[in-house]
Symmetry: C2
Subunit: 160 residues, 2 copies
DNA sequence: GCATAATAGTTATGCGGCTAACTAATCCTG
DNA sequence: CAGGATTAGTTAGCCGCATAACTATTATGC
């Protein structure tokens, strides 16, 4: 691959990263959230209570990041951390009522963001987009960088 | 759009952002660079000397970020900042010899990263990828969010 | 020509994410 | 059942990028 093509890809990914995050930040600000926190809430809403190590894995961020995220979300009253009964090292994270209420709004916001993101693209492109992005993300995964499965694959191995 | 689709898109973008950046960081570390600095060097190599406001615009980052980037790259000897002759507010940024030498390696690295990123994807998908990503990035642009042009468009308006 | 607006850049501060280094609990193996 | 390895979580410190507030210069409108 020549430099021009490589640059087109890398720069596009970089710009998309910056802007998508900025957009998310703008939408989250009215809720008092910062980008990164919303995915934690959504994950808790989807999967139910879980310990921080599972969150770290699910969100694709390192444990220290989870420590800070959970601490701040706990301080703002959206989640609760309780010692795990069977493992005194672990702490179980779950949504509070306020957190559950917030998740509803976050989900709406999440939809608005996605719609904005793919606005004007052909339907087929939109349909293929998640698969392509996941394949690409899997390619650059720091750990277990297995080769990309064809886009559209819905197996667990291509999932989050 | 329902939440599942929106989540697939947003999460995929988020994961790709984290991992692509992490991969870049891993590749840049041996050169003593941190992610973000490489694009500044590449931009200088492509366009030639320019003032920081132009850099800010070209890289899609805010002026304070440019201040820090240029300061650190100047400290490590890769760029030089000289007062602009015609405007005493502005400072012209240009590559030093060491910076030019470094750019060669950064370009190789950039190609390796892009190849890794699209490994295993169909050729057609790879060809379409930059256009799609740019269209999507334009959609979420904080300023001037004009609707996406069809992927594959190579006009200047779709460019960086 | 002068006051006002716009622009270039810096400083201060905050957030998210990272690695490295550490504690505490649990697991495993001899 | 010890003792070393693994795992959960935290702390400290770094970097990139953002916004807000500021200074210094240049451009503009009367």
């Amino acid at each position: 691959m020549d430099f021009a093509d490589a640059d087109a890809i890398n720069q596009a990914i970089r710009l998309l990263s910056l802007r998508h995050r900025a957009r998310a930040a703008a939408l989250l600000a009215p809720l008092g959230l910062h980008p990164g926190q919303e995915v934690l809430l959504l994950e808790l809403a989807r999967t139910g209570p879980m310990i921080q190590a599972q969150l770290s894995d699910a969100l694709g961020v390192e444990p220290p990041s989870v420590t800070l995220m959970t601490r701040k979300l706990e301080a703002s009253g959206h989640i609760r951390r309780t010692p795990a009964p069977s493992d005194r090292r672990a702490s179980v994270v779950e949504l509070t009522e306020s957190g559950q209420a917030l998740v509803v709004r976050v989900e709406q916001l999440w939809c608005a963001l996605a719609e904005q993101t793919v606005a004007g693209l052909p339907t087929r492109t939109v349909a293929e987009l998640p698969g392509v992005l996941r394949a690409v993300a899997a390619n650059v995964a720091t750990r277990g960088a297995r080769p990309a499965s064809p886009p559209g694959t819905r197996s667990r191995t291509a999932g989050r």
